[in-house]
Every structure is written in structure tokens, then in C-alpha cells.
């Protein structure tokens, strides 16, 4: 096994144990791992953003386009908007940096609006329009109850999220039913996600046992 693999495994195991030590209480090992993790990740993302985003998407097409390819002058606009962000450091013109943020927010608001409408609101509304009566007869009771849960659930949760009316009387009753539906779905989601988290923990323990300690897998320790 080469030195790099051995070192990476030992470092991985060391930092895993440092982070897990937080379960006992805050300690110098956790603080060390936390600082290294934050620092290394910051450096990694700066390098990654520069190499994977800034250079191929801006520098190459605008300043060093491949032979026979025209310069993409349109990229001057995002470049300027990027520079404008740094005007915040010059007190007199700091307000100019807000232009970039405003354009960014405005663009994504527009894009998200249609995406949410087409991808979520309309399909979900359409899927709630169900028939309780098929071919002149009731379908089986289980399916009928399932349809009822979907329809009543969606409608009562929608009522819960009405903010224009006080939750009193009939609206209050329906919204309380809505919050029950929400809580039951949260419970189910909680259990489902916890199962996923446990599998992550198992993965980490398997790394320590197999790769680091070499139990059952001829690791590096």
C-alpha cells in the first residue's frame, strides 16, 4: 500500500475521531478538527471556484478564446457586476454594490417563479384532483380512504396556511386538522431521515473498522 493511501486513511480516522469526540463534550481535538476542516474547505472552494467556474466560464471565453472562436463580449456584463460587489470597500460608492445583488435576486426570482409554478404548484394541484367514483361503483375501501386522506390533507393544510383570516370557528377547525396532517407527515419524515443518518454513521464506523483498523479487510493500521 502506498504512503499516500496510508496517510489519507490515518488522517481520515484521526479527524473522524476528533469530530466524534464532540459527542462527549467540546474539547481541543474537536476545535482543531473544526478549524482544519473550515480552513481546508475554504481553500478548496476558492481553488475549485477559480479553476472550475471563473476560468472556463469567464477568462477563456472573454480573454483567451480558442482559435477561430469569437470573444464573448457579453461576459463583460457579469464581470462588471462582479467587480461592483467590491465597491462596498470604498465608503463613498459602497451603495453601488447593491446593483449586483439586486440583479442577481431579480433574475433568480423570475426563474424560480416559473419553475415552482410549473414544477410544483400545477402538478401537485393536478394530482389532487381525483375521482371518488369510478365506472359507476366505488373502488375498494382502502383506495377510497387513501384518496380521502390526500384530498382532505391537501385542502386542510392549504387552509392552515391562510394568513388573511384568524384561525377561529370553522377555519380554525380545518386548520387544526391541517396541522395534524403536517405533524403526522413530519413524524414519518423524521423516522425516514434518521434511518438515513444511521446509515451514514454505519459507513463511518465501517471505515474505521475495515480500512483503518483492518479488521476483516486488511487495512492500514
Amino acid at each position: 500500500m502506498d504512503f499516500g493511501t496510508v496517510a489519507a486513511t490515518w488522517l481520515g480516522a484521526f479527524f473522524t475521531l476528533c469530530i466524534l469526540s464532540f459527542l462527549y463534550k467540546d474539547n481541543p481535538f474537536f476545535r482543531f478538527a473544526e478549524s482544519v476542516f473550515a480552513g481546508v474547505s475554504m481553500g478548496y472552494y476558492i481553488g475549485n471556484t477559480f479553476g472550475q467556474t471563473f476560468v472556463p466560464n469567464l477568462v477563456h471565453p472573454l480573454f483567451t478564446p480558442p482559435a477561430g472562436t469569437p470573444r464573448e463580449w457579453i461576459l463583460v456584463i457579469p464581470l462588471l457586476l462582479g467587480f461592483l460587489l467590491y465597491t462596498r470597500y470604498i465608503k463613498k460608492v459602497a451603495w453601488v454594490s447593491r446593483f449586483s445583488l439586486a440583479i442577481y435576486v431579480g433574475y433568480y426570482t423570475g426563474v424560480n417563479m416559473m419553475q415552482k409554478l410549473q414544477g410544483e404548484v400545477l402538478p401537485q394541484s393536478a394530482d389532487t384532483i381525483l375521482s371518488f367514483w369510478r365506472a359507476g361503483t366505488f373502488t375498494n375501501v382502502g383506495e377510497w380512504i387513501s384518496l380521502l386522506v390526500v384530498v382532505v390533507g391537501v385542502l386542510s393544510v392549504l387552509v392552515y396556511f391562510f394568513f388573511s383570516a384568524e384561525h377561529k370557528g370553522a377555519i380554525g377547525g380545518v386548520s387544526r386538522l391541517g396541522i395534524w396532517f403536517l405533524m403526522v407527515s413530519f413524524g414519518a419524515a423524521f423516522g425516514y431521515t434518521i434511518m438515513g443518518r444511521i446509515s451514514i454513521l454505519i459507513g463511518r464506523v465501517i471505515f474505521l473498522i475495515n480500512q483503518w483498523l483492518g479488521i476483516g479487510n486488511g487495512g492500514v493500521a
Binding site: 472552494y45 433568480y108 410549473q118 400545477l122 402538478p123 393536478a126 389532487t128 385542502l155 431521515t193
Partner: protein, 290 residues
């Protein structure tokens, strides 16, 4: 000639009347009108929804008092800041991990402004650690403005809003460590969260801090509901930012969205009745791309 006070209402009403007609006509013949008809429903609803929302924004700007019900979690905001003030401890505000292209982050910044105004008024220390660089820039502007509006610009310094790292879990480790070491009296976890939600909320809960959370990420809500004192569920986050800021644009949006929800609710009920008793799926099909 007298200008119509709300032209958006007229446009929205006409389109709303046209929609069912189109749904029925579509069953018999293909209508193109030179448009990509597969997304016609989205186009009509976009115009209708925008019209309704713009109308209410206009009403709010015109000084109309738009009622929005009080949201339970909001009562706790001042209580939490008050507790931090009494204990002489800081308030920690985590604005989520996403950028400002995410609506939840924008809503979170509105809540942050409210929190920052109060901390400035009471002279309570505030800290806002960030993961996203643009959110960091926007959060700094927000807090700076809040301190200025509260008449305490002297209390603002660059350290109040700081940047940690772009890595999700490195950020989580750093903020969790901060919670445990510095023991803030109140933690606000408001914005868009993912796998780090439970880690942060659990760390904060172990320190005994009052925790107020708010997110529209459905998968993360169970964690906040179980580990925080108050949780703004889904759209309550947006309503909360409107309620706190009392900005006409936000208030009008929330009111307009309520009308949109009511239209959708009626559409669904009507669709179910027609589908069940007549067997016609036009109202359902119309909502989907063709």
C-alpha cells in the same frame, strides 16, 4: 378619462374566465395562437397570480390596512432577545446555507433585520455566521441598515456578520462549536437548511438556548419541530417576514398569495366534483403541460 384603479384585476378576471373555456375547448380542438400551448396553463396562472399579487401590493402601498394573522413563533422573537439581554449573552442568527437566489434566504434576511433592530435597541450582542458569500454580503447590509435605523450605528462592527466557509459540514462544525463554547442565549435558525439542520439545532438545544427556527424545506422541518422552542413552518416564514417588516410589497404579496391559494382550492374542489360525478378530467388536465 378616469384611470382604472386596478387594471391588473380586470386582466386577471378576464384570464380567469377564459381558463375554464380554454380547458373545455382544448378537449375538442387544438388551439395554437402562435404560442407554445403545452405551457398555456402556466402562462395564464402566472398572469392571474401576478395580477392578484400586484393588486394587493398596490392596495398596501395606498395605505390600505391588510390584516395578517399573528404567527405563534413571532411572539417568541422578542422574548428570546429579551432573555439574551437579561443574561448578557449574545444572540446567534443563522440565515441558512443557501444563497440569495433562494426565496427562504430573502425571507430570513427580513427576519434578521427585525432581530438586529431589537438587538441594537437593547445593546445585545449579535452574531451572524455565514456559509454563502452573497448571503454574507446581503446579511451585512441588512444588519448595518438595521443598526442605523435603530439609531445605534456605533454598535455595528464587521465582526457581527462574519464569514465561515463554503463547505456545508465545515460550516456546521464551526457554528456548532460556537454554540457550545459561547453559549448564546438565543439561537435563530431561519432560512434554507439541509442535512445540517438537526446537527445545529441539537447543538443549540444542548446549551439550553431559546431556539427559534423557520424553514420551508419540508424534509428539515421535523428536526426543527422536535429540537426548537418555536418553528415557523413553511410559508409561515414568508408571512413572518411580511408581518415583521410591514413592508407593503411583502404584505401585499402574502395577501395576494392567500387569494391565489383560495382560487386553487376552489379549482381543486370543483375539479374533484366534476371528475367524480361527470368523469371529465378537463380541469385536471388543463393544469398539466400538454
Amino acid at each position: 378619462m378616469r384611470k382604472h384603479p386596478f387594471p391588473e384585476v380586470s386582466v386577471a378576471a378576464v384570464l380567469l374566465l377564459l381558463a375554464p373555456g380554454y380547458a373545455l375547448a382544448q378537449a375538442s380542438e387544438e388551439i395554437t395562437w402562435g404560442l407554445r400551448m403545452e405551457n398555456f396553463a402556466a402562462l395564464i396562472l402566472f398572469v392571474v397570480f401576478s395580477g392578484v399579487v400586484m393588486t394587493f401590493i398596490r392596495l398596501a402601498r395606498g395605505g390600505r390596512d391588510l390584516y395578517i394573522r399573528r404567527i405563534a413563533g413571532l411572539n417568541a422573537v422578542e422574548e428570546a432577545i429579551g432573555r439574551a439581554t437579561e443574561l448578557g449573552k449574545k444572540v446567534l442568527y443563522v440565515p441558512g446555507i443557501m444563497s440569495i437566489d433562494e426565496v427562504q434566504t430573502l425571507a430570513s434576511l427580513a427576519v434578521l433585520k427585525h432581530v438586529a433592530k431589537h438587538t441594537a435597541q437593547y445593546g445585545t450582542p449579535l452574531e451572524v455566521p455565514n456559509k454563502d458569500p452573497l448571503t454574507y454580503a446581503a446579511a451585512r447590509e441588512t444588519v448595518k441598515e438595521a443598526y442605523l435605523e435603530a439609531g445605534r450605528p456605533d454598535l455595528f462592527n464587521e465582526e457581527v456578520v462574519n464569514y465561515v466557509t463554503y463547505d456545508q459540514f465545515a460550516y456546521t462544525a464551526a457554528v456548532s462549536g460556537k454554540m457550545v463554547r459561547e453559549k448564546p442565549a438565543a439561537n435563530f435558525l431561519v432560512g434554507s437548511f439541509y442535512a445540517e439542520s438537526l446537527l445545529l439545532a441539537e447543538a443549540g438545544q444542548s446549551t439550553g438556548a431559546i431556539q427559534i427556527a423557520g424553514t420551508a424545506e419540508v424534509a428539515q422541518l421535523p428536526f426543527f419541530v422536535t429540537t426548537c422552542d418555536y418553528t415557523l413552518i413553511g410559508e409561515e416564514l414568508y408571512a413572518a417576514s411580511a408581518y415583521l417588516s410591514r413592508e407593503p410589497v411583502m404584505l401585499g404579496s402574502i395577501k395576494g398569495q392567500d387569494i391565489v391559494k383560495f382560487i386553487l382550492l376552489c379549482w381543486i374542489v370543483l375539479g374533484i366534483l366534476i371528475f367524480t360525478f361527470i368523469g371529465n378530467t378537463a380541469m385536471r388536465d388543463w393544469l398539466l403541460p400538454h
